[in-house]
Symmetry: C2
Subunit: 385 residues, 2 copies
Amino acid sequence: MPTIDLVQQSHQKIFDYLANHRLPTPCLVMDLEEVGRNFQALRSAFPQSHIYYAVKANPAQQLLNLLVSLDARFDAASIPEIQACLESGAKPHQISFGNTIKKAKDIAIAYELGIRLFAFDSLQELEKLSRFAPGAQVYCRLLMECSGAEWPLSRKFGCEIEMAKDLLICSLNMGLQPYGISFHVGSQQMDVSQWDRAIGSTAQLFQELLAAGIELQMVNMGGGFPGQYRSAVPAVTSYAEAIQASLDRHFGDSQPITMLEPGRSLVADAGVINTEVVLISQKSYTEDRRWVFLDIGKFSGLVETMDEAIKYRIRTPWDGQGYGPVILAGPTCDSADILYDQSDYRLPLNLQPGDQVQILSTGAYTSTYSSVGFNGFAPLAVYCI
Amino acid sequence: MPTIDLVQQSHQKIFDYLANHRLPTPCLVMDLEEVGRNFQALRSAFPQSHIYYAVKANPAQQLLNLLVSLDARFDAASIPEIQACLESGAKPHQISFGNTIKKAKDIAIAYELGIRLFAFDSLQELEKLSRFAPGAQVYCRLLMECSGAEWPLSRKFGCEIEMAKDLLICSLNMGLQPYGISFHVGSQQMDVSQWDRAIGSTAQLFQELLAAGIELQMVNMGGGFPGQYRSAVPAVTSYAEAIQASLDRHFGDSQPITMLEPGRSLVADAGVINTEVVLISQKSYTEDRRWVFLDIGKFSGLVETMDEAIKYRIRTPWDGQGYGPVILAGPTCDSADILYDQSDYRLPLNLQPGDQVQILSTGAYTSTYSSVGFNGFAPLAVYCI
């Protein structure tokens, strides 16, 4: 675990808090100052872009309050997320209803709440928007098949470019305002060059639509910026430079309005999960790996360990002393509740039941993924400091 | 979907209820009478066995109340599950603390609540039990590597037979009562013969321990009996016959006390999830499959679609009319929230947004897996009728 020194610095405030408060485990502690720093760093790196926080990454109300105070905007996936933003003081024009899969009644509620910016990727969705959000700004999500993302990207969102063009033309005839294009290159995207192809396709679509008499204004470049998990990640400035170079190359002097939808990169590194070792065992006398069972698992917040996609760093009271290979698993009676088996995790040989260990950079996509009570275990508690 | 006729019969009470009540979607409706029938059928098939309901499959309080009234016993995974059973009127001697991964403090709480039957599979766990549950009956879980189970079975639970023998001997010296052996052949186990090898190993262990002066009494044969998903499943009587034949073959005249821990087989077929089609779309003009998005997905109750392991049957208002291939997905902004892509699902061509469709045999491992609010969507509501 060579990165532990670096981690200890960035998470020190949370470690101190945990040392001074005997919080029941498991729990997630969020450092709001770190969220603020991450937001400002992203804003500095992308001074021209509107930054819409992807609420789904972590909707803790105190965190939304902070981001409202920093004049952030919000990418909401549902009516409850929109309401949480409004309750934190966000204005309707600061909120994008970014889910391409919306019930007609939810579109109507959002419109009633003042939301005027909506994502879509299909004719059916446009028909719903036309009826229940007349005159709203709409942007079409392009289907992108990118590599380099650690959390799987599927074909679930977006449509192909030919269809996007037709739908945007259609939207005007349906009484909507064709506003722009969105794409997403995949979450925890480690390859800064992945935005280039998408921006190129977007610029081409802007041209084609201009020829059809429609002047798009906005490019929503999604999120995808990483948290600091086990592998080193590029700096946010590297992403910004690559993306601005792409925008310059493909759009030249006619730069569009740009939106970003960061979630993970703002909150992941601002959170630490504190957990307790429940049991350390072996299955046989010949097995060379220990099984380490924690009081948190795949169904109480760590869903992103599915297929061992996201590899969190782990801090123990014995770091720096002798390590041995482990299989890391959760506390439920479910065979699938294994965090890491194939990913060569190693933990100190001194580790004992009752030891508290910290799972680092867990501020994103943990608390709300937590089950309501699988095996009777309570949902993950969240403390914002 | 050739099995729909059969399904319609067994789920008719729930369909009628849904037709007469405009419940918000998504929701799970449980038919308690069906749970009762399933329990009685299992009891009839296994008249000699103590049946411990695996509470984790569905801990709805009304369901626990019913099972208490039927004199069922309970396999609990945690203190909250134990408390739920006690609140439903179960007596402590009817409850087994079946999780092999327990905090010391939870063992102490269970003991204080009167629980005297505990599972273990490691020396560390025995040490905790010895200290916090002195004199309790303990049973050791054997590691089984079986095939034929649809929900993945890993090496997470149990230890190998040599270690089990030593641990059971050890337990006596530690002031505990070595009571028996448990094993599990995997959830949704379709091969009735899989119990035989486990029962054979268990009988061998009984013999070896008898030679060491320890007379075990009990074999916990776990669960594994199936729900009725897309493939036909053997009748419960087939399992009972195969298992009794194995017990006769391996134990002869010295039949042990037997425990069963059914979860899925008691409640899966007693539940139906009612959901609404949110969107049907295509990604391009050339794609031959429709994407059908429901208002429930992998993170709101259908976790068992992970890797498309459990393949639920689906009922629509247009069944029997023309079908076409679909990719079935949930409503969240998460690329991983796809239910079925590789499993050749076909749904009626007439299907439209707003249509209500039913996901059948969803009474097990759904409601408590549901996330607390991923993407802002509320946990799965449960109605017991």
